[in-house]
């Protein structure tokens, strides 16, 4: 690998000026990067070149990919609404391998453990590199420096921004839909593979050169609501099965039974109550992790006791959030990703359960987005440092483990709270300096651990509101010292020079890099 030129960005991190042969801009600070120019313009097509009867069906995905002109070096995208039950991405690259195509750039909205299957194609050169989250086995593979190109990690909003701005030109988008018609209208609401909404595929449908819709539930025109509009679509394909329904339902969408996590959730809810964040008309972001779900349940209890209603809840929907909607505790769910069948049902039948996309909720290069309107976002992290900077993609041992998801985008909400354990199996979570910087500390307000709550000194308002509270407020340094006292002071993870992935900020600049782990 050729030596890349490095520079220090505004966060003090050494980042390259070029990634995979293309120039990039180092991070300049929150809200410091100005943009000019025009958005990416896909090619013009005419309807006279498409079947006049609207039937764009082809027999197989292979035929569709051939027709779409799949060839070496192309960028192909897929989406993660089937989560760990996804069968499409694996099929897609099985076909690419059969066709002998090389050096593809895979641009998923996220990857899951089921995509371990693709390691063979990273090894044999079918796939050049991944731009999207790399978890589990893929993360380990990349962390060992085995991927040919450099991975690029983006938030959901950042992914939309990258497509819209032309940083990533998608040659072929393959969109799996639970329900579609032969013209290409599609939604995720009906059928055996129902997943709710298709917001992650919106940018791809709008900007990709070729768009293929794959469904296991082909209905006659019109497929409504058309979350994806057929007018963007080149080919439609019917298959037997898109995904494994049991694994489509996210494994994390159950309230945790862990007493330690429940304690974190309870402390978080109490904090929000005491600081007045829970008030009539407020809004909150609730994640799908077990702790976030539990926070929602504690919110619910407080809201019921005090007769408080929220205007909207933002987030991946699930049965718990749906019950709040149906009991009238929230007016709207603004849903970015539907995590269970209760969510799918509610979305199909309740006008208060609204589909969103990374464009409406997160895109930093639009005329606003609603992430910033949310009163409180409760998120996770693998590490937080004494400057409140946080990491979500690697652990302290340096291995890539998670994607960014909507995490970076949610940091713009009015109060950001990270309920996290102080340490996990001897791995300290509150540390001197994060291994990988994913979120600048100035946007992170509160760290809730089982051994104390640290409030960002920038938030004097919150500190004042907690005067006299019996919540265990400590400084972040006190928490870090406590973690080190229990676990011992960790050695630094050992990296070599090779950059295996970069972390983009929401505006497309390079926030940090992930280096190869020395084993």
């Amino acid at each position: 690998m050729p030596k890349t030129k490095l520079t220090k960005n505004a966060a003090g991190r050494s980042v390259p000026l070029e990634i995979n042969g293309r120039p990039v801009i180092p991070y300049k600070g929150v809200g410091k990067h100005n943009v000019a120019g025009v958005k990416y313009g896909p090619k013009i097509y005419t309807c006279k070149d498409f079947p006049s009867d609207g039937n764009k069906c082809v027999a197989t995905l292979k035929e569709a990919l051939k027709n779409a002109g799949l060839k070496d070096g192309m960028t192909v995208s897929t989406h993660h609404h089937f989560r760990n039950g996804d069968m499409l991405a694996n099929q897609l690259f099985d076909i690419a391998k059969e066709m002998g195509v090389k050096d593809l750039r895979w641009f998923p909205s996220a990857s899951f453990p089921c995509h371990e299957h693709l390691i063979q194609y990273l090894e044999d050169g079918t796939i050049h590199h991944i731009e999207g989250s790399m978890n589990g086995a893929l993360g380990r593979f990349a962390s060992q420096g085995k991927m040919k190109g450099t991975g690029v990690l983006r938030s959901h909003g950042g992914r939309y921004q990258a497509v819209q701005d032309g940083e990533v030109e998608i040659d072929i988008a393959v969109i799996g839909a639970a329900c579609a018609d032969p013209f290409g209208n599609a939604n995720g609401l009906y059928g055996d593979s129902a997943t709710g909404l298709l917001g992650f595929a919106l940018a791809d449908s709008q900007y990709a050169d070729k768009v293929i819709i794959v469904t296991d539930n082909m209905v006659s025109f019109p497929c409504v609501p058309w979350q994806i509009q057929g007018n963007y679509v080149d080919y439609t394909v019917e298959v037997d099965k898109l995904g494994d329904p049991e694994k489509i339902i996210s494994g994390t969408t159950r309230i945790t039974k862990s007493p330690d996590r429940l304690l974190l959730a309870e402390m978080t809810a109490k904090f929000c109550d005491e600081t007045g964040i829970i008030h009539n008309g407020f809004s909150f972001q609730s994640g799908a992790g077990g702790t976030s779900l539990a926070v929602g349940e504690y919110f619910k209890k407080i809201m019921q006791e005090k007769g408080i209603k929220a205007r909207f809840a933002r987030g991946g929907s699930n049965k718990y959030l749906v019950s709040m909607l149906e009991e009238g505790l929230v007016d709207y769910i603004l849903d970015g990703q539907t995590f269970d069948l209760e969510g799918v049902r509610s979305m199909a039948e309740n006008p208060g359960h609204v589909c969103t996309s990374p464009f409406t909720s997160y895109n930093y290069h639009g005329k606003g987005n609603f992430a910033g309107m949310v009163d409180v976002a409760i998120l996770g992290a693998t590490e937080v440092d004494v400057n409140f900077n946080a990491n979500v993609v690697t652990h302290s041992d340096g291995y890539l483990l998670h994607g960014i998801g909507g995490w970076q985008n949610c940091l713009f909400s009015k109060t950001v709270i990270l309920p996290i354990p102080l340490f996990r199996d001897r791995i300290p979570v509150v540390v001197d300096e994060v291994t990988t910087l994913c979120g600048p500390g100035e946007l992170i307000d509160v760290i809730v651990t089982e051994r104390g709550i640290a409030i960002n000194p920038l938030r004097t308002d919150l500190l004042e509101k907690l005067e006299g509270s019996d919540l265990p407020v400590k400084t972040i340094t006190e928490l870090k010292d406590e973690a080190e006292k229990i676990c011992g002071k960790p050695e630094k993870a050992h990296f070599d020079d090779q950059i295996i992935a970069v972390v983009k900020w929401v505006d497309g600049t390079v926030l940090d890099v992930v280096r190869r782990v020395k084993e």
Binding site: D260, D397, D425, R426, I427, E491, A493
Partner: protein, 404 residues
């Protein structure tokens, strides 16, 4: 000791194991100390783990050994306990590798503190010990008895000893449940020198058991020059124990409470244990009466359905109404409900406050008689009201400035 073995194992490994480790030692003729470390935290703590192992070997005078260590994120107190457990199998050492006592663990207890909740922690499971204190139980019980398999008793003693020195229990009263005698007497050697506040004696049914424990603790207190008093909490778990409750309760000055164990008691009675517990009503009321007669606390059995919080709540309400002043917990989520239900109710607190106000007014004015309106208040009533107010303040149910 009989013939010495050359290979020893301790601890546990596996995909589901957390915060623990497995060690295997093979004594060798030569080759020095060889360490084969497989750890999920190797990149962060690999060299410090190795250093710790070498210190342990040096301490026990072991020069040639092959160590296989499979670590699932165990903290140093666990690693050294596991290592020592293995070393003891292959050498005749009388020495103990004792980690430092952290400053946070040096706090004392007092005889008449509240003991609403006490959380059982299996003595051979380090994972559950680490965060026990943050759930704020009144007491934690490191259990050497029923939760530890017979073959693991020695491992558990060493782990509990190290935990008492290194794990911060954040002010909870530090209790250990020893094994039934005579094994329980051996347990005492590993725990008494490490700031144990209360020793729980299982299956107690006669005074002689108390006396044996008391004597052994006395010996250890002298030997280790311990200044802190060690309290006893006998557990009544048999029909005979119930019948002897008062004798046991008053057998020693160091007894602070009697607890009842309903699982064993119902087995002894030959009845089925129910959530309503009417089958043990006699035993429980008898135990309460014995405790009050002896001036100590009566502590109820655990509620074993950890998923049934409403059942637990009803159980505690009845328990309190019978005169119990605390209950065991087997899950941290039970703690807050137990505290809530044993705590005085809003009405009780209000009434107590009115009585205390009347008492202070009478004292300020130098009146000999305390009255609320036309009603005279007796001193025992004031005393109970004071207890309630103190309790409410301590539990954060009312603002915290206590008048004296």
């Amino acid at each position: 000791m009989g013939q010495q073995q050359n290979i020893a194992e301790a601890g546990i490994a596996g995909p589901k194991v957390r915060s623990d480790c497995y060690v295997k030692l093979e004594l060798t003729e030569k080759g020095g100390i060889r360490i084969d470390l497989d750890s999920k935290v190797k990149s962060l703590y690999g060299s410090s783990i190795e250093r710790l192992c070498r210190n342990v070997f040096e301490f026990f005078g072991i020069d040639n050994v092959k160590l296989t260590l499979k670590d699932s994120g165990a903290l140093p107190f666990t690693i050294s306990a596991r290592l020592e457990a293995a070393v003891r199998q292959i050498s005749d050492t009388g020495k103990e590798f004792i980690p430092d006592m952290t400053d946070e663990n040096k706090y004392p207890s007092v005889r008449d503190r509240f003991r609403f909740s006490r959380l059982y922690l299996p003595g051979n499971n380090p994972k559950m010990m680490l965060n026990a204190g943050v759930h704020n139980p009144d007491g934690i019980i490191l259990d050497l008895e029923d939760s530890v398999a017979p073959a693991k008793k020695m491992e558990a003693r060493l782990l509990v000893r190290n935990a008492l020195r290194q794990v911060n229990f954040y002010g909870s009263e530090r209790m250990v449940r020893i094994n039934q005698l005579p094994d329980g007497l051996e347990d005492l050697k590993y725990i008494i020198p490490h700031n144990v506040h209360v020793v729980l004696i299982p299956k107690c049914e006669n005074v002689s058991q108390i006396k044996q424990v008391e004597k052994e603790i006395g010996n250890l207190i002298n030997k280790h020059e311990i200044r802190q008093e060690v309290f006893l909490m006998p557990i009544i778990e048999t029909a005979l124990g119930v019948e002897k409750a008062f004798e046991i309760a008053s057998a020693s000055e160091t007894i602070v409470a009697l607890a009842i164990g309903l699982e064993d008691l119902t087995a002894d009675l030959g009845v089925i244990r129910t959530n309503e517990a009417t089958e043990t009503l006699y035993a429980r009321t008898r135990l309460v009466n014995a405790c009050k007669a002896a001036g100590i606390q009566a502590i109820d059995s655990v509620f074993s359905d950890v998923g049934d919080m409403e059942g637990l709540r009803q159980n505690v309400i009845i328990s309190k109404s019978l005169g119990f002043e605390g209950m065991g917990c087997i899950h941290p989520r039970q703690i807050s409900i137990i505290h809530e239900c044993f705590a005085p109710s809003k009405e009780e607190i209000e009434k107590a406050q009115i009585i205390m106000d009347a008492f202070y007014t009478a004292r300020e004015k130098g009146l000999g008689v305390i009255a609320i309106g036309s009603k005279m208040i007796d001193l025992p009533v004031v005393k109970r009201a004071e207890k309630t107010v103190n309790l409410a303040v301590k539990l954060g149910l009312m603002p915290g400035t206590l008048k004296d």
